[in-house]
Symmetry: C2
Subunit: 136 residues, 2 copies
DNA sequence: CTGCACGCTCAAGTCGACTTGAGCGCAAGC
DNA sequence: GCTTGCGCTCAAGTCGACTTGAGCGTGCAG
């Protein structure tokens, strides 16, 4: 079965203009055209699902997404880099989550100023920063 | 102890121009000025550490970061939203990580086209998308 | 046969978060 | 006394990822 650009857009929650843009930059070409009209098939929907998965939330740039989904075996190291970057981000997001949880559970009115626990942690971060760039 | 703008920038791996920008948008004001020259103290470094933690990788916009770090008790729900968004992102990043791991371990030359396991998963995602937007 | 929905192209505009450039001041060292 | 380094302001430029607008074509319901 074939889908029009607006159907694809609707089903994936993506703007029509974004799909035209993906075509323009050769990230996702339609299966074909009826006259001048783009038509998309299953294969393209698969690819779009992958693109969406890797690209949403600014997880990866479109260029990186394209590189990651390119043909093998050119791309092993590219994919490894992507995965490592994703892992680093998960770590950082967990740190952020811990901080936010603390802000929500801390009994102080303004934890950023008043909480001794948070203060100790920030002192550590700041000291590390101050020490870490000593040689530069 | 007081730090100059270039010291702060160096220690945190942030550009001087970014710090001036943070001042301009009232996200991080210097502790004071010697003449026209910005000086930063411990308190500002603490705040910068927090900003950095929440904002890097496009985790949160500067506006959201500012809102999250604002005085209480205005901000409880803002912080909750931030935390929920962070959690959702962690989930999505994990999905992306799983995909990338699969691409790295799958024995097929071009898993996106050839791997039956991946194909099954993508079919599911696509079917969900096609079904999920039925009422719209 | 006249709207209206939907599609198309191409060029220009937008947004956040900075960066860059022009033009200036001030202190230290050769 | 002049260059070098660091700092300042203010306006304009940049980048990615789209979005918007102008202007056009096509098919079909009323």
């Amino acid at each position: 079965m074939q889908y029009s650009i607006s159907e694809v857009a609707r089903h994936f929650g993506i703007a029509v203009s974004a799909l035209r843009y993906y075509d323009q930059v050769n990230l996702l070409r339609p299966a074909g055209r009826r006259g001048s009209v783009r038509t998309y098939g299953r294969e393209e929907l698969h690819r779009l699902a992958l693109i969406h998965l890797l690209h949403r939330d600014g997880m990866m740039s479109l260029d990186a997404t394209a590189a990651t989904l390119a043909e093998r075996p050119t791309t092993r190291d590219v994919i490894e880099n992507s995965r490592d970057e994703v892992r680093r981000r998960i770590q950082r997001l967990r740190e952020a989550e811990r901080l936010l949880d603390h802000l929500l559970t801390c009994p102080r009115d303004n934890p950023v100023r008043d909480c001794p626990h948070l203060r100790t942690q920030l002192d550590h971060v700041v000291d590390t920063a101050l020490a870490g760039s000593a040689g530069r």
